[in-house]
């Protein structure tokens, strides 16, 4: 899953910019045009919600635990709770659910060979937004690079920078030499 869209850079607002870092497991809601919410994502997912009428926006940052079977429902309950916290925070600031617009970021596959927890996170977030009837106005999910996301809650604008290079291809396998010179090694 890597259906990226381009997000336009944002014109700077008058006044000093206040950067607020949203770390994993947290969320932040604001309506101040001088506030910018930012986070760095690997396999985690961040939801940026915006109400264009109220001029209120918020960002969360969550990671579903890597679990299978019934344990995955525990993970989904955690994800649903993370989304609920953000939604409730928006409602408390005067936003209305029916006006919500969402942008989703993250869900990268950061380590080859392990189960793709990033894809699970992205799938959950997309399904949540669809099931709850929230308008999805943009998303950048999947891939193998970490993302720095910046979100201006008062305007709903967002941009991202890919932080890491794509995983390099594995080096070619070299044939082992038939005879290895160990040098002078004293064994005892």
């Amino acid at each position: 899953m890597n259906t990226n869209r381009v997000f336009q850079p944002v014109a700077t607002s008058p006044g000093p910019l206040q950067k607020i870092h949203v770390i994993q497991g947290e969320y932040h809601v604001a309506s101040d045009p001088n506030v910018m919410l930012t986070t760095v994502l690997g396999s985690c997912v961040s939801t940026c919600l915006f109400d264009p009428v109220a001029g209120v926006g918020g960002m969360n940052h969550f990671l579903l635990a890597e679990q299978t079977g019934r344990g995955s429902e525990d993970a989904m309950r955690y994800g649903a709770y993370a989304m609920e916290m953000l939604i409730n925070g928006m409602l408390k600031r005067g936003a209305r659910r029916e006006r919500f617009q969402a942008k989703l970021f993250g869900g990268a596959r950061m380590m080859a060979g392990l189960s793709d927890v990033g894809a699970d996170n992205a799938r959950f977030a997309l399904k949540f937004i669809e099931d709850e009837g929230i308008v999805l106005t943009g998303h950048s999910l999947g891939g193998t690079a970490a993302r720095r996301v910046e979100f201006w809650p008062a305007s709903g604008r967002a941009r991202q920078r890919l932080n890491a290079v794509e995983e390099p291809p594995p080096p070619p396998i070299q044939k082992a030499p038939n005879k290895v010179d160990l040098g002078e090694v004293e064994l005892f």
Binding site: E73, D74, Y78, I87
Partner: protein, 129 residues
């Protein structure tokens, strides 16, 4: 010991995802008679029209929130004895105190596990079979 499949439960939450997860948790502990409502007003209508044994309700909801629903349920005769478990967030200690004043039977902190859900229900009804 009440049979889980004899319990009639009304799940109230404005998030469809959370309702589905609560329903799934209830089904895993043997509850089969489950109704859902997306806000307090609908829940009140449903509790009056189709009586239930237990209301499992979120707090933050449009129209009528969880506390409003609890107060309405407790003040209306036919529903006043219905067991009521409030679903709360981790930081909602004030809410729990207020809910206790209005006669809530128990509370369950989100995100919860199925064992946690079962434990809270059993504290109200006794061990489920």
């Amino acid at each position: 010991m009440p049979a889980a499949n004899a319990l009639k439960v009304l799940v109230v939450d404005d998030q469809l995802t959370m309702r589905a997860l609560v329903r799934s948790g209830l089904q895993q502990i043997g509850v089969t008679q489950i109704q859902e409502a997306a806000d307090g007003e609908d829940a009140l209508r449903m509790a009056v029209d189709r009586p239930v044994n237990l209301i499992l309700s979120d707090y933050n909801m449009p129209k009528l929130d969880g506390l409003g629903l609890l107060r309405a349920v407790r003040t209306y005769g036919p529903t006043s004895k219905v067991a009521f478990i409030m679903l709360t967030g981790r930081a909602d200690t004030d809410l729990v105190k207020r809910a206790a004043q209005f006669g809530v039977n128990n509370y369950l902190v989100k995100p919860f596990t199925v064992q946690g859900l079962r434990g809270k229900i059993e504290q109200v009804f006794g061990a489920l079979t």
